[in-house]
């Protein structure tokens, strides 16, 4: 597969909400094309009928009792916020 040409880095960076500089764009395109070429090896493996593994030891239906427990104080929870006011995180205006 022509992964090298397919890697539209602007589209991907947009999906990742990541602003790249023109220099990063050029550099990453070349480096990732090389990595993808190496990854292409996986196409040689016959995976017909093989189930995918998401976790080595899957555990299903992990439930916690629905009981309130002490959590972080408001002060602790907001301690790392870049901007805060009146016990809330301040963000740029999102609605006109």
């Amino acid at each position: 597969m022509a992964a090298n040409e397919d890697l539209n880095i602007d589209r991907i960076a947009n999906l990742a909400r990541l602003a790249l500089t023109p220099e990063e764009n050029v550099k990453f395109s070349a480096q990732l094309a090389e990595v993808l070429t190496n990854i292409e090896k996986l196409k040689q493996v016959n995976v017909d009928g093989v189930e995918p593994t998401a976790h080595a030891f899957p555990i299903y239906n992990v439930w916690a009792d629905d009981v309130a427990k002490p959590g972080l104080s408001v002060e602790d929870a907001l301690r790392n916020a870049p901007a805060q006011r009146d016990n809330m995180v301040v963000v740029p205006k999102v609605v006109e």
Binding site: A16, R17, F28, P52, I59, N80, P82, V89, P92
Partner: protein
């Protein structure tokens, strides 16, 4: 031995030795912690293993330990022992940076489960250890702050991503350390720095409070000077945790007792795929000599095959980057972490905060992970990788029908020079022998097994069966307790 001689090198002793000295009241935890602090102040400028440390906090924990002991309430072998923590594991009130500008000013509001467990065992939580940014790398050169040096050769890397954890221990700046291992990030630096490194079975140790990189692969584990110390440290951190939904409910055996109880002889598998092209001859010779040792104590050495080994790196760089692109989407500049001062609106804030906060390797992996998960490519990359992951896991489980453990080199070469692997793909291939263990969720250890002619450490990897850490530790201890590689210390 005079009191002065006995305390002068306290920082190079094992947990086992120090626990005995503490118990006999020959030394106090404050004396031990002061020795570790003095050693750190002496060598840290050269080693650069730490992102930060808090001497007042460590000494107050040590004083508390001494008070417990004086009151006859000592908590066990870790009580009063200074243990360094990789800077991706949360410690209340201490910085938690992941060696990233994104979290440069973050202070942890809570303890990771492993931190809580170490505190309950009485350990002195000591320092925040450097790593490749967000644990992505094999050399600590991707740290946004500084590169850690290999204590055995300051021009060489200590390995990574837990390079600070390995280097600090090797340099005598801690008595044990914790790291995390997603594709080899404990075992590879352990091998490069002449220390024991253990990655437990996925699910044995809680990941709660560990900054997530690739959630289906990440595990926390200890770095130690001996396998016995590894058994003691694992004992303290293993166990079910309701705060980690992938934590497994199993009974935790007495690992230290297992070292004596389990005597073998064991059946040991040697996978030919790990001894081929790219393996440094000195590393091969050291590991083969260790295998000879096992033969000499009556173990049956069998050739096994792990035929999908060559696909491990490809599978890993699809699955790990896919999971990282998802996990790191939380760093958006809103609730915590770096926020750009130059954004014109909320969406621009995401783009710019992430662009300014992340370093190059993290960006590359987010891009790659986003790509393999994107519409039209998901089946070709991500789904296929998950299927090959099944085959890689099956390879190991097949081998375990015939053997109790597998021995391989931990790394293809000893430590390389800083700057030697500027190309990302070359760096990724460093992890070729360690990645399979994470993909299969198995326990793996690196144990020192020699030195190169250039004086650089060599490690062998022992891979065990799922949740059979007791057997793995016993097998590793049979070698480690009969050799004294770990008694060698760097000339700093």
């Amino acid at each position: 031995m005079s009191q002065a001689a006995m305390t002068s090198e306290l920082f190079n002793k094992t947990i086992t030795e120090l626990a005995a000295l503490l118990e006999a009241k020959t030394i106090t935890s404050v004396q031990l912690t002061e020795a570790v602090i003095a050693r750190t102040q002496d060598v840290e400028e050269r080693v650069k293993a730490f992102n930060s440390f808090d001497t007042a906090d460590a000494l107050s924990q040590a004083a508390a330990s001494d008070a417990r002991r004086a009151a006859g309430q000592a908590l066990g072998p870790l009580d009063g022992i200074p243990i360094g923590i990789k800077d991706v594991i949360a410690v209340t009130g201490q910085p938690l940076t992941a060696s990233s500008k994104m979290l440069a000013n973050f202070v942890s509001p809570y303890d990771a489960t492993v931190t809580q467990k170490l505190k309950k065992a009485g350990a002195v939580i000591w320092g925040r250890l450097n790593l490749d940014e967000f644990a992505m790398g094999s050399s600590t050169e991707n740290s946004a702050f500084h590169t850690t040096r290999n204590p055995y050769n300051l021009d060489c890397v200590p390995g990574g991503s837990s390079g600070g954890s390995a280097a600090a221990l090797a340099a005598g700046e801690a008595i044990a350390t914790l790291g995390s291992d997603t594709g080899g990030s404990i075992r590879q630096p352990a091998a490069l720095c002449n220390v024991v490194g253990l990655k437990p079975t996925y699910g044995l140790v809680s990941r709660f409070g560990l900054i997530a990189f690739a959630s289906s692969l990440d595990q926390i584990g200890p770095f130690n000077r001996t396998v016995e110390d590894a058994a003691i440290t694992l004992q303290a951190i293993a166990g079910y945790d309701e705060n980690d939904s992938t934590s497994v409910k199993i009974e935790i055996p007495d690992y230290r007792a297992a070292l004596k109880e389990k005597k073998g002889p064991w059946r040991i598998g040697i996978p030919k795929e790990y001894f081929g092209e790219g393996l440094d001859p000195e590393v091969a010779a050291a590991v083969e000599k260790a295998i000879e040792f096992y033969k000499s104590i009556g173990c049956e050495i069998k050739s096994v095959s792990l035929p999908h080994t060559e696909y491990g790196v490809g599978v890993y760089y699809i699955i790990a980057t896919a999971e990282c692109s998802s996990n790191l989407s939380r760093y958006d500049g809103i609730r915590y972490g770096h926020r750009s001062a130059n954004a014109k609106d909320i969406v621009d804030l995401y783009y710019k905060s992430r662009a300014e906060g992340f370093g190059p390797e993290v960006k590359r992996r987010i891009i790659l992970g986003t790509y393999v998960l994107s519409s039209g490519y998901y089946d070709a990359y991500y789904l296929r990788a998950q299927k090959v992951r099944t085959l890689i896991r099956q390879d190991f489980l097949n081998a375990y029908n015939e053997v109790d453990a597998i021995i391989t080199p931990t790394t293809p070469t000893p430590a390389f020079k800083r700057g030697a692997k500027a190309d990302p793909l070359a760096m990724y291939l460093c992890d070729v022998y360690t990645i399979g263990v994470n993909l299969a969720g198995l326990p793996g250890m690196s144990v020192p097994c020699g030195f190169s002619s250039g004086g650089l450490p060599i490690g062998m990897q022992l891979i065990g069966q799922p949740f059979k850490e007791a057997d793995l530790l016993a097998i590793a201890n049979a070698y480690d307790s009969a050799h004294d590689w770990s008694k060698r210390t760097p000339n700093l």
